[in-house]
């Protein structure tokens, strides 16, 4: 009867929800595994983001010891091309002089790209491996967790505030709030408008990255479901499985562009916002 249909439909939803649930430790709901309090830690997000950060540090440390001027290795050339690319972006978009900006941009670009890249690992592989050692929930892509993206964008927001106050001075920064869009006769409106504008910066940074990667992950999950739920009988595999492979490959290649673009946008917008903070006069 419909019990079977229901269970297969429920299985689909359950599959997706299971894959989109973080491994929550602390103030978590025991049934849904969603955070209910402040001290709810998404251990998988923390683990993978810190691990990828360590990968960057270790790789650059090892590369730094074996740098060669005369005969650079292929990997050194590759890293140099990334650094030159980021350096070019900083020179193009950043007006002031600040030695922190270029390393910050490079870190954001590489780190966000690596975290996004976790999306291209087959969706079932890491949860399956984790399940084998007794971990029930695992979301491997740190940037599909709103906590990661908002943490990064709020850090950038903190830097924006810091440099605004440092370069323009507290009074100069206040003046931006008072007189910015409409001149001195609309001071209350100006305050609200500038507040909204400033608040929109971290929001757009964090939500854009999260939204794009979350949607990408969801599409991967849906493609993975083709072979799982639509197949009826052994013959079904002959049709559905090749379709799944083709779709997955297509989306993977497209997604490779998306993750690079998103990492790039995050970096460029950080540069633009910090550049706006470094401009003395409006």
């Amino acid at each position: 009867m419909s019990a079977e249909e229901h269970s297969s439909g429920g299985g689909t939803v359950e599959y997706i929800q299971h894959h989109l649930t973080n491994l929550c430790v602390g103030d978590c709901d025991p049934v849904t595994h969603k955070a209910v309090g402040f001290w709810a830690l998404h251990v998988d997000t923390l683990f993978f983001s810190v691990m990828l950060g360590m990968v960057i540090i270790l790789t650059s440390w090892r590369l730094g010891r074996s740098l060669s001027l005369d005969a650079p290795s292929g990997f050194q050339n590759f890293v140099e091309s990334i650094i030159e690319f980021v350096q070019g972006q900083v020179k193009d978009t950043f007006p002031g002089h600040n030695p922190i900006i270029a390393p910050l941009a490079l870190t954001i670009f590489v780190w966000v790209w690596l975290m996004n890249f976790m999306d291209l690992i087959p969706v079932d592989l890491l949860p399956l491996l984790a399940g084998a050692v007794g971990v029930n929930h695992l979301k491997a892509v740190p940037t599909t967790d709103l906590n990661t993206t908002m943490a990064m964008s709020l850090t950038v927001f903190g830097l924006i505030l810091f440099y605004n106050i440092k370069i323009k001075g507290p009074v100069g920064y206040m003046k931006v709030f008072l007189f910015h869009p409409f001149g001195k006769f609309f001071i209350p409106v100006n305050i609200v408008m500038t507040l909204i504008e400033e608040l929109a910066k971290p929001l757009s940074l964090g939500l854009r990255l999260f939204g794009n990667l979350f949607a990408g992950e969801l599409v991967f999950l849906l493609i993975a479901l083709i072979g799982g739920t639509l197949v009826v009988g052994a013959l079904g595999y002959l049709f559905w499985f090749p379709l799944q492979v083709v779709l997955d490959l297509g989306w993977l290649i497209f997604h490779l562009l998306v993750i690079t673009l998103q990492a790039f946008i995050f970096m460029v917008l950080t540069l633009v916002y910090l550049g706006m903070a470094h401009v003395e006069d409006h």
Binding site: V189, M193, L195, I196, E197, A200, L207, R208, L269
Partner: protein
């Protein structure tokens, strides 16, 4: 510029959030929420217009 689309949306959302905060402070929902969202939309359109006309 790349981020034009999201600037508009996020400014409206930021307006909503700010209005929501002011409302729960003054206990006057939904006045400020709507007004600030409207302001956010106006500011967003202005911003987009400025960004798009600057590069030409």
């Amino acid at each position: 510029m790349i981020g034009v689309g999201t600037i508009l949306t996020s400014m409206i959302v930021a307006g909503f959030l700010l209005g929501y905060a002011v409302d729960s402070w003054l206990d006057s929902r939904p006045i400020f929420m709507l007004v600030f969202a409207g302001l956010g939309a106006v500011g967003g359109f202005l911003k987009v217009y400025k960004l798009l006309s600057r590069d030409i």
